[in-house]
């Protein structure tokens, strides 16, 4: 038995499925691919699957990964990649299969890129409003946690926010705490913006990469 890390992208229609649905989808693809997997024992045998970090609904992912346990004497990593690619829908392409270097628990940061496209106003107006938002002394947000609703200020987390205004709208890039310890979704910022503006815009978001506390890339 050997643990391997399957890297894939989440694109197109697949962005609209929840993490729970993704796990079902992956389980079916594994079953379909006939990859010799190591199963948990017991009445209801399950294949082992550990996703690095769930992606919020509606976000694309460039470097998503899931760890699976294979029977290494029966299949190579290249073959896992090939078979799983064939079994997954085109919106979930497999990019590589590697030996895990870091534990998913080490993940501490994630980098994101967002594109906000104005609806019913110009890109300049949207940019001006965004600049105004960032000029506020604080950006109060709330999020669900295990212990109920948490209220906090988002501003201290935006040190690495870069943004620019272009023809089509605003381009944002940021690095935010991510992982099991502390997880801050970039949608908190767009939701706060939306709330301040009282209007809506189209937001395309992608998570590009994951890092540990030392900012080493998750591998």
């Amino acid at each position: 038995m050997k643990t391997v890390r399957v890297w894939f992208r989440k694109t197109g229609a697949a962005c609209y499925i929840s993490h729970l649905d993704l796990t079902h989808c992956m389980a079916r693809a594994l079953h379909r691919s006939k990859i010799p997997l190591w199963y948990t024992q017991g009445f209801n045998p399950r294949a082992h699957m550990v996703f690095a970090l769930p992606l919020p609904l509606g976000m694309a992912g460039e470097r998503e990964s899931v760890d699976i346990k294979i029977e290494e004497d029966k299949i190579s990593m290249e073959e896992v990649a090939q078979r799983l690619s064939r079994a997954l829908p085109p919106t979930l392409p497999v990019t590589a299969v590697t030996e895990p270097v870091m534990k998913p628990g080490k993940i501490a940061f994630a980098s994101y890129e967002l594109r906000l496209e104005p609806e019913g106003e110009t890109a300049d107006e949207l940019a001006a409003a965004f600049a105004a938002l960032l000029e506020q002394p604080e950006i109060p947000v709330e999020k669900h946690t295990k212990s109920g609703m948490a209220h906090f200020d988002l501003m201290p987390y935006l040190g690495e926010l870069r943004w620019s205004a272009g023809e089509g709208g605003l381009l944002l890039s940021m690095v935010l705490p991510a992982g099991s310890e502390k997880n801050i979704s970039p949608f908190l910022l767009t939701e706060a913006f939306e709330k301040q503006r009282g209007v809506s815009f189209l937001c395309r978001a992608v998570r590009n990469n994951l890092y540990d506390a030392e900012r080493k890339i998750f591998e």
Binding site: Y16, R32, G58
Partner: protein, 613 residues
């Protein structure tokens, strides 16, 4: 993708319902397509995607050269509101193209309470609701499914109905359409020709006249349409088409598993059960064919559970051989087998050990009535002894919860019969405690589930009045008060919805205006308790001057012309009447394997009627 769609997908619950792009969904090059078919299921994605008939016809139509069949579901109310606000029309999932642009718009009618969704979907598509307002050949609205056996309430809206099983007739119709499209025929020319295909019913070619007392006087065909339209069916189930793959949804649906069909029809003849008469005669698939189909489905979908579907799977004559054959590979591949329907009288631990679903979902049985007399009336050939033996076997096998399904409001039912439901529940509880092998340290839980009886067309009870809502409620209360232990819990269906179901199940064309009005008043998702409003429906009936009680609560004389008399499902009216009279006398009828009762279905020339008994 439709412009603007992306902008709303993140604002709705479960956007995966509306995005398409699933594994095994079929995308064709439009330049090579000359007939586009929008297959519409008038309920949400999770319900529609679970439906086997849709999967069969989807694959079958897409096998046809030049034909592209796509899926369409009813958007949930949050999505509908946004679509209407932003002017996004109903679209098909594969191409994202508006449904209004399709040649054929097909609906499957699985339950009467989905009719308001049919209208709402047409409206959301921007397709004129009334058949007579649709011009040209395209936007042909067709419908099939079990409710097409009494399609009259939808006659104003649907251009043609398919009676019976669609595998052959749907393809024949599509070919005819293609030919007429090429020729540039008018809609009327096409419909006249379509009416000549066996199994196709074109309601506009029939004139209905009424008597003063409100009953139908006559149904008269015009322009060469046949006086009786006979259902179509597949006689050789082994040769009949079954898809090699299913579209595999991203999101979880109601029945998220591979489904194999082991037979069509049913030998039983329970007198309340419409499916038992509509799909006659019984036609089985052979073990090898079912096994191959299961294997191929599991390979192409990756599902790790197979459901063996039919009206009563434990009646399959080769159930044990089939299970053994399946087990030769399913164990290895960690695939479970489930049976959706179990009967009380042929439950065995042997079967139980081979299937996985029962452990998870618990045991359910359907005695349907609480006393032997009433079970004889409905021809549910299950005795109390059999039920007790079955639950005792189950309790010995480690089960401790059982769910029993019943109907209330059955013909000839008295309050004693209703109390009999509770008494039967009590006997099951007693059987648990009397059993020395029961699981230690655990109590028993018995759930009694009672739904209101809805008389349906093509059953021996098609002439019966439904109990009024008040009577059904009284019986529900009587049931609850007859239960004396907390080990038994009761639940029942809302009588209001059963009433509306009864109205449409035996309705006629005079319900068309009511449906239209109800749609205008905002009726939709009537099968969903949160959305059903009897008050709104009553308003629609009142506005049209139509009495719903006339349809639901009236006893019809045997010689009355029924709205579906010009449709032929094989079973004869004489047989149904005979069965009704036997019901009144509480006399049971043997099943098709024991003896033939000459129901009429032998006319199709196949199935169990022509096998050696």
């Amino acid at each position: 993708m439709i412009p603007g769609l992306e902008k709303i997908l993140l604002k709705v619950q479960k956007p995966g319902r509306y995005a398409g792009g699933e594994l095994n969904s079929i995308v064709k090059d439009k330049s090579g397509v000359d007939v586009r078919f929008a297959f519409c299921f008038p309920d949400i994605y999770e319900v529609g995607m679970s439906h086997l008939g849709m999967k069969i016809l989807y694959s079958l139509l897409n096998r046809m050269e030049g034909v592209w069949c796509e899926r369409v579901f009813a958007p949930w109310t949050d999505m509908e509101a946004l679509m209407r606000e932003r002017g996004i029309p109903l679209y098909a999932l594969e191409s994202g193209d508006p449904v209004a642009d399709f040649d054929i718009i097909g609906f499957t009618l699985q339950y009467e309470l989905s009719y308001s969704n049919v209208l709402n979907m047409l409206d959301l598509a921007g397709v004129p609701l009334l058949a007579r307002d649709r011009q040209g050949l395209s936007q042909l609205v067709v419908a099939g499914g079990p409710c097409a056996c009494n399609p009259e309430p939808l006659a104003d809206f649907v251009d043609l109905f398919f009676l019976g099983e669609g595998e052959e007739v749907d393809c024949e119709l599509v070919e005819l359409y293609r030919e007429h499209k090429r020729r540039g025929s008018t809609r009327a020319e096409f419909l006249r020709a379509a009416a000549q295909i066996p199994g196709v019913y074109v309601p506009s070619l029939y004139e209905v006249t009424y008597r003063e007392d409100g009953a139908i006087d006559a149904v008269t065909p015009r322009e060469g349409a046949p006086a009786k339209v006979k259902k179509r069916l597949m006689l050789d189930m082994d040769r009949s088409y079954f898809p090699e793959s299913f579209v595999v949804p991203y999101i979880e649906i109601v029945h998220d598993r591979a489904v194999a069909e082991v037979f069509r029809g049913c030998i039983r003849g329970c007198r309340f059960c419409q499916a038992g008469f509509l799909y006659r005669p019984l036609r089985e698939k052979s073990v090898g064919v079912v096994n191959d189909q299961c294997r191929s489905l599991c390979e192409t979908t990756g599902y790790d559970e197979i459901s063996l579907s039919s009206l009563s799977t434990s009646d399959y004559s080769a159930l044990n051989p089939l299970l053994d054959k399946l087990l030769t590979w399913t164990k290895e591949e960690k695939t479970g087998i489930s049976l959706p329907s179990l009967r009380v009288d042929n439950f065995s631990t042997e079967v139980m050990d081979k299937i996985s679903s029962v452990r998870r979902s618990g045991l359910t049985f359907a005695p349907e009535a609480g006393t032997q007399r009433l079970r004889d009336v409905i021809n549910k050939n299950v005795t109390e002894d059999e039920l007790m033996r079955t639950v005792t076997t189950a309790f010995s096998g480690g089960w401790s919860s059982v769910k029993l399904y019943f109907m209330i409001g059955l013909p000839t039912e008295t309050l004693d019969d209703v109390a009999g439901i509770a008494a039967l529940g009590q006997k099951v509880v007693d059987a648990f405690y009397a059993n020395p092998d029961k699981k230690k340290g655990r109590g028993v839980s018995v759930t009694l589930s009672a739904s209101g009886f809805v008389p349906k067309a093509f059953t021996p009870f098609q002439w019966e009045p439904q109990d009024t809502i008040e009577t059904l409620r009284e019986k529900q209360r009587h049931l609850v008060s007859s239960v004396t232990t907390r080990k038994i819990s009761c639940n029942y269906h809302d009588a209001d919805t059963s009433f509306m179901e009864a109205v449409f199940a035996r309705g006629d064309r005079r319900l068309g205006p009511v449906l239209l009005k109800a749609h205008e008043l905002g009726c939709r998702f009537d099968g969903w308790n949160d959305y059903f409003s009897l008050a709104r429906w009553r308003e629609a009936f009142a506005a049209c001057g139509v009495s719903p009680e006339f349809y639901a609560n009236r006893r019809r004389p045997f010689d009355e012309v029924l709205p579906w008399d010009h449709l032929d499902y094989g079973v004869t009216k004489e047989f149904l009447r005979r069965e009704c009279e036997r019901a009144y006398a509480a006399v049971t009828t043997p099943n098709c394997r024991e003896a033939c009762s000459a129901c009429g279905a032998a006319c199709f020339g196949g199935g169990i009627c022509h096998e050696n008994r």
